[in-house]
């Protein structure tokens, strides 16, 4: 089941002197099992948009439909128990490393499942699996989360959401502040999750990652959605760039295009696929 935004508007501090429109008439669909990236200038409403997905913020107008769940400020329409939706849609926030609080890493990850009536033992078992999945080694399990580095903390936070085994995983700028290696590992982790059937939604400013990993892109500007497309449509075919930075692979393809070498943009995701596409082109000639 896809996620549907229907005429969603959201205003912070609604009906006070501090009103601040953050979302304006959003209509969009996020496909099931897709790897969707949400991009746009800072302050355009990306973080606000994803918080509608599990009812942390309720749209002031319109509704969000996730499977059988309806998120709306209309009490009659809204699903009664949003807690179950929170289990289905896991959100990892920007600076998620600030949400850790338990004494040990393992307990912190196990905290989520215990909120959903999983026994302590079971929760710890799940926590171990999730920590290993995000690449935290066993010797860290009994450490205090505050002893870890920023990047490690973030992985623990992600494991904390992963432990709820959500079918939709939303991450707000998960690679901000990570080194290139950490960024790659993070994205590979998300890719693996996506391949095992989880819908992954990522907010990011890094267009190179978008081109390499995303199957769908949502471009936002000024609290509206201005484009829904696949990455190759967005970066390789289209001239309008919605003031987005062009990924370096796309630049190479564009320059080759100017020199008269036309490539099949659909398959180009990274350096490797670019090279094999050029090789294929040469062979055909």
């Amino acid at each position: 089941m896809p996620i549907n935004f229907k005429d969603v508007s959201f205003t912070y501090s609604y009906k006070t002197p501090f009103e601040n429109v953050a979302l304006n008439d959003i209509n969009a669909t996020i496909l099931d099992k897709s790897f969707t990236c949400i991009v746009g200038k800072t302050g355009c409403g990306k973080s606000t948009l994803i918080q509608q997905l599990n009812g942390l913020l309720l749209p002031t107008k319109g509704e969000v439909i996730v499977d059988e769940f309806v998120v709306s400020s209309n009490r009659k329409r809204r699903t009664k128990k949003l807690a179950n939706l929170r289990k289905k849609v896991g959100i990892v926030f920007q600076f998620s490393e600030n949400q850790l609080f338990e004494e040990t890493v393992l307990d912190d990850v196990a905290f989520g499942p215990t909120n959903f009536k999983v026994s302590k033992e079971e929760a710890r078992k799940i926590a171990k699996e999730c920590l290993l999945k995000v690449g935290i080694k066993e010797e860290y399990f009994e450490k205090s989360p505050f002893e870890l580095s920023g990047g490690e903390k973030r992985r623990v936070a992600i494991a904390g959401i992963l432990a709820l085994s959500p079918s939709i995983m939303v991450l707000d700028e998960p690679t901000a502040g990570l080194d290139p290696e950490g960024t790659k590992e993070m994205m590979e982790l998300l890719k693996k999750m996506n391949e095992s059937g989880t819908t992954v939604i990522v907010v990011t400013h890094d267009m190179n990652l978008v081109l390499t990993y995303a199957t769908n892109v949502i471009v936002m500007s000024d609290s509206r959605i201005v484009k829904e497309a696949t990455p190759d449509e967005l970066f390789l075919d289209n001239d309008e760039k919605y003031s987005l930075e062009t990924p370096y692979i796309a630049k190479v393809v564009q320059e080759l295009d100017k020199k008269g070498i036309k490539l099949d943009t659909k398959v180009i995701k990274d350096v490797k696929s670019l090279a094999s596409e050029i090789a294929r082109k040469r062979k055909n000639k």
């Binding site: 002197p17 501090f18 807690a83 959100i91 949400q99 959903f116 505050f146 709820l164």
Partner: protein, 334 residues
């Protein structure tokens, strides 16, 4: 988070917003003193009660007009008061049971004399029999109503004055103390930083609550033990980030060469206008009136009192209308 609106600066441009913060602080204190005046008229506690309410009435009137002028929503005000119903209730109960319990009845003996014991709460099963005096009920009503008016006065101050202007005013008031090496500037700086970080901390609270809610924490429902756990999941990250922030800020200030002992000037100068003089004279007049009433034992049945009250109200209304004409209110961008 919505009931945190109480006392938050609201970005309008009314004449109350434009008044000098020093004036607003002094005027507020003068009105509070007037509000808390006792009318110790011998043997006439009903007079005290009624006079208190007349004074409260006048001040309440000023408060309501100010709220209208400054675009402080009265509806919003009462909504935010809901957050403190517990305090009000507690005060009320404490007063009823303590202020005029038989032992303290001596203290308010005049009241006791005039109202006597009024009714008793009796619970035969516990062998419980407690007298409630009308005097104590009056006393409670007095205290609670004064408290509410006092809160609304401070709320007008804080919602029409930018926090930074408030600290400038405090620094100005404390500046004579600099002569005796009192760290007036440091205190003002600390205060303004603290004020500056309140919204940040509220945002942080909001963010952490959301992050923990995503992990299935329910802050609103559930067993007490679960809710305590939820609170821990909120407070620990909040404290850690607050400490981190304060450390970072201190380092950043030092890195930029902040020296608390340095002589400094302000970008914004506090300016005293004609309106300020009018307002402070007006509040002084009100306080003077209350003092005169109290000292000279004037009461509501003294001939000419109603005349004076009427004149006071008339002056208040005209003044606010005139000031309103001189200065239109409009919303300003944040």
């Amino acid at each position: 988070m919505n009931n945190m609106i109480l006392g938050r600066y609201s970005p309008y441009d009314s004449f109350l917003h434009r008044l000098d913060p020093r004036n607003k602080i002094v005027s507020m204190i003068l009105l509070m003193v007037a509000l808390f005046f006792q009318f110790n008229l011998p043997g006439t506690s009903i007079t005290d009660f009624v006079m208190t309410f007349i004074v409260e009435g006048v001040i309440l009137f000023i408060v309501i007009i100010s709220m209208i002028v400054a675009h402080v929503s009265i509806k919003q005000f009462f909504k935010s008061l809901k957050a403190m119903w517990f305090v009000v209730l507690l005060l009320f109960i404490i007063n009823i049971f303590i202020v005029a319990s038989p032992s303290s009845a001596d203290w308010t003996s005049t009241m006791y004399y005039y109202y006597g014991e009024s009714f008793r709460i009796q619970v035969p099963a516990w062998n419980w029999d407690y007298p409630i005096y009308w005097a104590s009920i009056y006393q409670s009503i007095k205290i609670v109503s004064r408290l509410i008016i006092m809160i609304s006065l401070t709320m007008i101050l804080t919602s029409t004055t930018k926090p930074l202007d408030l600290t400038f005013a405090f620094e100005w008031f404390m500046s004579p103390l600099k002569l005796i090496k009192f760290p007036a500037h440091e205190i003002a700086m600390t205060l303004s930083i603290a004020l500056r970080f309140i919204p940040t901390l509220l945002d942080e609270t909001d963010r952490i609550m959301k992050a923990q809610s995503s992990r299935g924490v329910d802050f609103k429902h559930g067993r007490v033990s679960l809710r305590i756990k939820a609170l821990v999941a909120l407070i620990i990250p909040l404290f850690i980030s607050a400490f981190q922030r304060s450390e970072e800020l201190a380092d950043a200030m030092e890195a930029r060469g902040y020296n608390p002992r340095a002589k400094r000037t302000h970008y914004h100068k506090l300016t005293w206008s004609v309106f300020d003089s009018v307002i402070i004279l007006f509040t002084l007049a009100i306080l003077a009136g209350v003092i005169v009433i109290s000292v000279m034992n004037i009461t509501y049945y003294t001939p000419t009192f109603l005349g004076w009250l009427f004149i006071a109200l008339a002056i208040t209304i005209t003044m606010f209308i005139l000031l309103g004409i001189f200065s239109s209110t409009r919303k300003v961008a944040k």
